[in-house]
């Protein structure tokens, strides 16, 4: 058929890896990491999303067009977050009256 058939073994390996990453993120939340909590949690979440995307959603076996569409969504999300946060985070930098 059209499309790559992912083996049961690969699917279960990915599932186990996702569970390990889940317990890693819960464990990391209890470590005294202070300001590193958020970057670490987001990194682990991104790793899980990549595993799900590549193997459960078959991106690994897909045409490049699908790759472009999936990455474009992240690009737009990045623009949204970067422009919004650049406003809010920089508001206190300059002492401008009436801001």
């Amino acid at each position: 058929m059209s499309g790559h058939v992912v083996s049961v073994r690969t699917n279960i390996t990915i599932f186990v890896a996702l569970l390990i990453l889940l317990f890693a993120t819960v464990g990391a939340a209890y470590l005294p990491l202070e300001s590193l909590h958020l970057p670490l949690a987001l990194t682990i979440a991104a790793a899980k999303a990549v595993l799900i995307g590549l193997f459960f959603m078959h991106l690994y076996y897909r045409h490049h067009l699908t790759w472009i569409v999936s990455v474009a969504s992240l690009l737009w999300l990045g623009i949204l977050l970067a422009l919004t946060l650049s406003d809010y985070l920089s508001r206190g930098w300059l002492d401008i009256p009436g801001k």
Binding site: G3, V6, V8, A41, A45, F56, S70, S73, L77
Partner: protein
């Protein structure tokens, strides 16, 4: 696909068979499948922006009021959130196996995996309902029965805490998890319809494209939860 396929428009109407129908606008089955798949990915890209608005609002509130967000997050149930993540990851595994069964034309396995996927989705909603009920009991639902918890009110006299920012975390929590739960309800409905159509032998072929596209949606909802769990539940669990 090696076997010869007929266009629906030409020749006699095909008797119910296990061969996929090639619509006239496509060159071959491969292209037809690819069009559906890319179309679903474009829809998912718009869904990223749908959730993106809430995630941007969350990022702003977390950036400008980190202590209130951390304090409010401690009122969520980390254990139930973790259980729900396991359930949802399990449902994604089941959905991936359902797609595999559809590709291999294994109707019986396909029906089983679709049923398991929908059941695990329903389990997730059940656990979510228990959580919402706990938050209702603790008076943490904004606009309905919200009260600043006593220990937080005691702290806010000594610390510079803004109770409205504390409440805003719960507004974001209910909107983000609520929108996610709504997507899951849609997902369960889709999977159930696919299971029914498979049961009725409605698909030409084994419904491989349809099941795979449904799977893409299901996995997307899973990915959203993968981000929501640490962002909402695991902010400050130590204190």
């Amino acid at each position: 696909m090696e076997t010869v396929t007929t266009h629906r428009a030409s020749g006699p109407p095909a008797a119910p068979s296990d061969e996929p129908i090639l619509e006239v606008q496509f060159d071959d089955l491969e292209q037809q499948h690819e069009a559906s798949s890319v179309g679903m990915w474009v829809f998912l890209a718009t869904e990223v922006m749908f959730f993106g608005g809430l995630i941007a609002a969350y990022a702003v509130y977390r950036a400008i009021s980190p202590s209130e967000v951390a304090l409010a997050s401690q009122h969520l149930n980390v254990g139930l959130g973790c259980l729900n993540t396991v359930i949802l990851l399990g449902s994604s595994l089941s959905m991936a196996l359902a797609v595999r069964a559809a590709q291999l034309q294994s109707r019986r396995n396909l029906l089983w995996f679709l049923a398991i996927t929908a059941a695990l989705g329903a389990c997730f909603l059940g656990v979510k309902a228990v959580e919402y009920y706990q938050e209702y009991r603790e008076h943490l639902i904004p606009g309905w029965n919200f009260q600043i918890p006593a220990q937080v009110a005691a702290k806010s006299s000594s610390l510079p805490l803004d109770p409205r920012r504390f409440e805003m975390f719960f507004v974001l929590y209910f909107f983000m998890t609520g929108l996610h739960a709504f997507h899951l309800i849609v997902g369960i409905a889709l999977v159930s319809v696919m299971a029914l159509l498979t049961w009725r032998r409605w698909f030409s072929g084994s419904g491989e494209t349809q099941i795979e596209v449904t799977g893409l949606y299901w996995h997307f909802v899973d990915v959203v939860w993968v981000f929501l769990y640490p962002l909402l539940y695991l902010i400050d669990v130590q204190s």
